[in-house]
């Protein structure tokens, strides 16, 4: 089972995604993709840790090559989030890489090994501002990845101000 959870900033994606694991009996893994640089990253990590406390998640970190994460087969995995994974892959060598197909195939490989894969992603294309080429390419890549994962997902949910809206069931 693969579920994609999307939405804008601070709309309750993580809280909703975590709620999908309340009935899971086996191992629950929180697969973090954010590299902890800077004060805001640390405070976001701390806030998410508090939210997960007592929910029985083990934390794994994998910043690129997500299918290589060392997670026991058959686990229930909460991957957070696609926006960071894409940034890490796209700019991994200090240059811009075309990595949309790679990320999608990594995800599909990871999914095969897991009992449940919930992916938190982001909506970043809804402000219609002019961006530099790198940012514009990032927006396009995330949109394409989201579409491809949604196509393969069993369910797609968009969170809006804490309200989960089922986009695909």
């Amino acid at each position: 089972m693969m579920i994609l959870v999307t939405g804008g900033s601070k709309c309750g994606k993580s809280r909703f995604a975590e709620s999908l694991f309340s009935d899971i009996a086996g191992p629950k893994i929180y697969l973090a993709t954010m590299q902890p640089y800077g004060e805001e990253a640390h405070s976001a990590i701390e806030r998410h840790r508090k939210m997960r406390a007592d929910k029985g998640f083990l934390t794994a970190e994998q910043y690129t090559d997500i299918d290589r994460a060392e997670i026991p087969a058959g686990s229930a995995v909460l991957l957070e989030c696609m926006g960071n994974l894409l940034a890490n892959e796209m700019f991994r060598d200090g240059q811009m890489n075309d990595c949309t197909d790679k990320i999608v195939s990594d995800i599909l490989r990871l999914r095969q090994r897991m009992n449940l894969l919930v992916i938190v992603t982001n909506q970043v294309g809804s402000d219609d501002l002019d961006y530099d080429a790198g940012t514009a390419a990032y927006i396009a890549a995330l949109g394409i990845i989201n579409q491809k994962i949604a196509e393969n997902a069993d369910k797609v949910i968009e969170c809006v101000y804490g309200i989960p809206v089922t986009v695909k069931r």
């Binding site: 804008g8 601070k10 805001e40 402000d127 501002l129 809006v160």
Partner: protein, 127 residues
Amino acid sequence: MILITGGAYQGKTAYAQAHFPYAVTDGAVCEFDEAKDAKILTNYHVFVRRLMESGIDAEASTAALCKDNPECIVLLDEIGSGIIPLEKSERVWRETVGRAGCILAEYAHTVIRLVCGIPTALKGELL
């Protein structure tokens, strides 16, 4: 409380006024105190920024608004679905608007989102 959201220029104010013949209080310019008597409070995302610029806790104020003005129709632009801003103050504002939206949506009996002038009920029924 009714929360009406959606991106900028999607027809939120027109939708609110089509269903309620009330005067509009513009959160972008009104006095902070006017919010608790407002019937239709627009531009709440700008209201949040003004609160923050005045050193007021916008999340606590939003919770207080729910208590003090429980019948208010609040209009809030969705601003959190673009690229994370480079400026820290803009990042914090954008996140605070998201959290304020969650507080309002939880309290509201009805939440409507407009896209291209078309309303969708996220909570409760269409007006």
